[in-house]
Amino acid sequence: MTSRIPSIFKDNADKDKKTFISYLVCGDPSEKHTLLAMHTMAESGVDIIELGIPFSDPIADGPIIQKSIDRALKNDISLRDVISVVKKFRKKNKSTAVVLMGYMNPVHKMGIKLFSKSLKENDVDGVLIVDSPPEESLALNNELKKYNKSHIYLASPTTTDSRMKDITKMSSGYVYYVTVKGITGSKLTDLNSININVKKIKNYSKNNIPVAVGFGIKDSKSARQMAKFSDGIIIGSSIVELMHKYSNNKKNMEKHLSNYLSSISRAI
């Protein structure tokens, strides 16, 4: 199956709605928690789930996600396990898009061809490899194209105009605009430059690729602000934190997660 992401953005735009993207680390603290959270996300207004692939050296992540990854790695969760979680998710859910997000080495170890093929076989929609910029990911980009999967790239406040062009050329699905210079869990600062840069990326894109913004969005207020500038918003650290807080009681976790996500969904 081809990526659901383009039609999700289009349908939302037609309804004058922004796309809601949420992140969680696969396997923290267990696969069961992850699956429950993914279904809760889908039922609470989330359109795209970024499922984090745990990696021992997550250089772009702040303390909240680092600790979450550590907890997941205690269960020895592998990239193959992450893919199998998507397969299980698909038994009940055929509409919510799932993007695998992580670092290069586990993918490198599995092999780019095998990895891409297993995305097709398990109905994953796209991939975002944080430490693999366009320069280092031509091979992966070509493989993903073969299967019509979305390859999401990052753009940041330090990205030059000429790079923005290159990034939009190689991206499919959406471009993930990192709102701050920093790691996940950082604070939002310069709103005006976010607005300007998102517009620039859209202008450079020949096929009007959607731009979603992430890093620093924590509540309905910041979500609403960011949604004004963009096609979608991404929330990670706050969700990971909330899930951890209630992880010893799944029912409780489900309730709090649902309330939180619904409030964001209404705000955008």
């Binding site: 290069m104 080495n105 170890k109 910029p133 320069e135 030059t160």
Partner: protein
């Protein structure tokens, strides 16, 4: 020498040594790395910069470092000749200052006001703190919690020099985690901060910049050896963690008819799995911004390493070493903690030179070589002095200091 390497082509424009190296970082760091590359090409290759650096290295660091013929040791070992390139005699006691000073000068010219660094054994941290004190730059050093404990002397030195030492308690609490944390700091503070990586690791252009600043070791050695002995050594031996002292000695000799050996940390022995020898027993993967040999498990997670020496306790290695291994230009091998310790005592007792535990790995292999060979000249990079390791040694020998 057959098949000369056109050294100018490596790394290539994209920062690769054939299959190795590259720029595996998140988007936010791409621009600062390009900026660094441009500044390096423009500033560091200019005659005026070279002149200033040369003067600093001479008057402040104490270069050139001598080559010492270890006669008693050579006689003790057998029929070969051991020569030591005395990087331990540099100001701050190791080769690390060559790079730290070069990069700090570059950062200053780039208008940066804050320097960050990672350190394992503390030698690079001390060298960076020293260069920052000399050049009036703010300095923050990241160091693994475990390393802070085993290298307490260097921690104190850094603090005396005005640096802030930040303890890293994530992951394995050693060098690799300090590097992760330094990268996170850099992403957050790119505007005013320069990151001085201490080894030939990391994303392009770091492996190239650090190699260039360290190549003074090999350049000097070549000239000195020719002058004093009218020939080149038969063998070069250096220890390899990230590999900066090794590449510094090796690089100017790559197209010469000299056998070259890099010695990794074999820890408790390669077959125990508890070691830090990715070139000897690892596989190519992606870590800390480049593709290189690494120690990983079947799922691509980075493995815990073990070495008696904090400076070699690293699961990756500079990409140029990976390339030289695959080209078969340099032979990479390893020695165990125990062998390194024995060599530590041998050099101390026979020559009155206390080597760093990192350096002791190169010594251990070179001693084995010297016993086997006849009438060969072996040049070892004596990359650092061992004062910092006396706590570790005393603990092993049950001595109270």
């Amino acid at each position: 020498m057959k098949n000369k390497i056109n050294l100018k082509n490596y790394p290539n424009k994209t920062g690769h040594f054939d299959k190795f190296g590259g720029v595996y970082v998140s988007e936010t760091l791409i621009h600062p790395l390009k900026e660094l590359f441009q500044a390096y090409k423009k500033i560091a290759t200019s005659p005026s910069f070279k002149k200033i650096l040369k003067r600093e290295l001479k008057d402040y660091v104490g270069r050139p470092t001598p080559i010492y013929y270890a006669e008693s040791l050579s006689n003790f070992l057998g029929n070969s000749h051991i020569y030591l390139k005395r990087e331990d005699l540099n100001h701050t006691g190791a080769h690390k200052i060559n790079n730290a000073l070069g990069q700090a000068l570059l950062a200053k010219k780039m208008g940066k006001t804050r320097i960050i660094a990672e350190t394992g054994a503390g030698q690079h941290g001390v060298a960076t703190a020293t260069a920052c004190a000399r050049l009036d730059l703010k300095c923050v050093v990241y160091m693994g919690e475990q390393d802070i404990q085993r290298q307490s002397v260097n921690v104190y030195r850094m603090k005396l020099l005005g640096a802030e030492v930040r303890s890293v308690d994530s992951g394995t609490k050693t060098l690799k985690d300090a590097l992760n944390e330094a990268l996170r700091d850099w992403v957050t503070n790119v505007d005013d901060t320069h990151y001085i990586i201490g080894s030939v690791a990391g994303p392009h252009p770091y492996p190239m910049i650090v190699r260039d600043f360290q190549s003074i070791i090999g350049d000097e050695a070549k000239t000195q050896f020719k002058k004093d002995y009218d020939c080149l050594p038969d063998y070069l031996v250096a220890c390899v963690g990230g590999g900066s002292n090794a590449i510094g000695l090796f690089h100017p000799f790559l197209n010469e008819n000299v056998k070259i050996v890099g010695v990794e940390a074999g820890g408790f022995g390669i077959n125990t799995g508890k070691h830090a020898a990715p070139l000897t027993a690892g596989t190519p993967g992606v870590l800390h911004g480049n593709r290189t040999y690494i120690m990983e498990d079947k799922n691509g997670q980075i493995k815990n390493t073990h070495s008696i020496s904090a400076g070699l306790d690293y699961p990756g290695v500079g990409p140029e070493h990976s390339w030289l291994k695959d080209k078969k230009r340099v032979q990479y091998t390893s020695v165990t903690d125990k062998e390194a310790l024995n060599a530590f005592f041998t050099l101390t007792e026979k020559e009155g030179i206390i080597p760093a535990l990192e350096t002791a790995h190169a010594l251990a292999y070179a001693f084995k070589l010297a016993k086997k060979l006849k009438d060969k000249k072996i040049l070892i990079n004596l990359s650092g002095r061992g004062d910092k390791d006396i706590d570790t040694i005393a603990k092993l020998k049950n001595i109270k200091l």
